[in-house]
Subunit: 163 residues, 2 copies
């Protein structure tokens, strides 16, 4: 499609993120399965439940702008997940694999943080206060998920230092 | 290669980021050319100069860990730039295109922020204080570049509101 207005760009970006969140709902269980530390597994599983909520919120946003929920292939998440698979697949040691999983998860979190932050700004600008509010709720959860991963990375460093 | 230790993972991630930064040195001039606002053009050109410095710093980091500078295809940056090209290519209006460029640039910045933050942590953990320091300098520049883009996004919103 051709993008002519900020409304169009907002709509296209919501479609892109809808694809990304739905893809993560499929990918996070595999990531949790690859993780060894119970804390990391549980953090990923917790984030999977949140991610299902993010999909629902985006469906609400589609409704708020009078559009049907349609996903548009998100090349960014494809690349980020391909890289995550490659990195994690190369690691033999379970502790180091956990460290790699945390690092890859944070690249995905940061993609989403950038996208949601932009969408919240555009929603305000376009007068969609309701959409800005629920997109902001997801943004807060992505920021918290990134912080959780940082704290687990610190624990992992301490574990490796103790060995 | 097979990753067995945190040293290996650090090395692999530096190779990945070396590919990404070199790719950006090629891509940023195209992005600057697509931009219309002089402020945005100049911000991208300024960041291009910084990015060349990031490539040199990574070469220094390779030296610090006694490795040759070798790039490893970074699927994440490939995906992020493919998405950026697609989004920007679909936009007709120049102001909206600038808004799209800013948004795409921020997804790239955030990828780099996540990667450099992780590398600084690993470098400290591995006792590479010198590498941690110069990677931290790049991290600070990426954070500043992201903030600059956010401030330009605000200017762009005001311009559109005035029309």
């Amino acid at each position: 499609m051709t993008v002519k207005t900020l409304d169009d760009l907002f709509h296209e970006t919501v479609k892109d993120l809808y694809y990304a969140e739905k893809k993560l709902v499929k990918s996070l269980p595999k990531m949790a399965k690859m993780a060894t530390s119970p804390d990391l597994k549980s953090a990923i599983e917790h984030h999977l439940e949140q991610t299902k909520g993010h999909v629902s919120r985006l469906e609400e946003v589609f409704g708020m702008i009078d559009k049907k929920p349609v996903a548009k292939k998100c090349e960014a998440i494809e690349g980020l997940l391909k890289e995550a698979d490659e990195v994690v697949g190369e690691i033999e040691d379970t502790d180091i694999r956990d460290t790699g999983i945390i690092s890859s998860a944070q690249t995905v979190e940061h993609y989403e943080i950038a996208r949601y932050r932009t969408l919240v700004g555009w929603a305000h600008h376009l007068g969609h206060a309701d959409a800005a509010r629920i997109l902001g709720e997801t943004l807060d959860e992505e920021l918290a998920a990134d912080e959780k991963m940082s704290s687990l990375a610190g624990d992992e460093d301490m574990r490796q230092a103790a060995e």
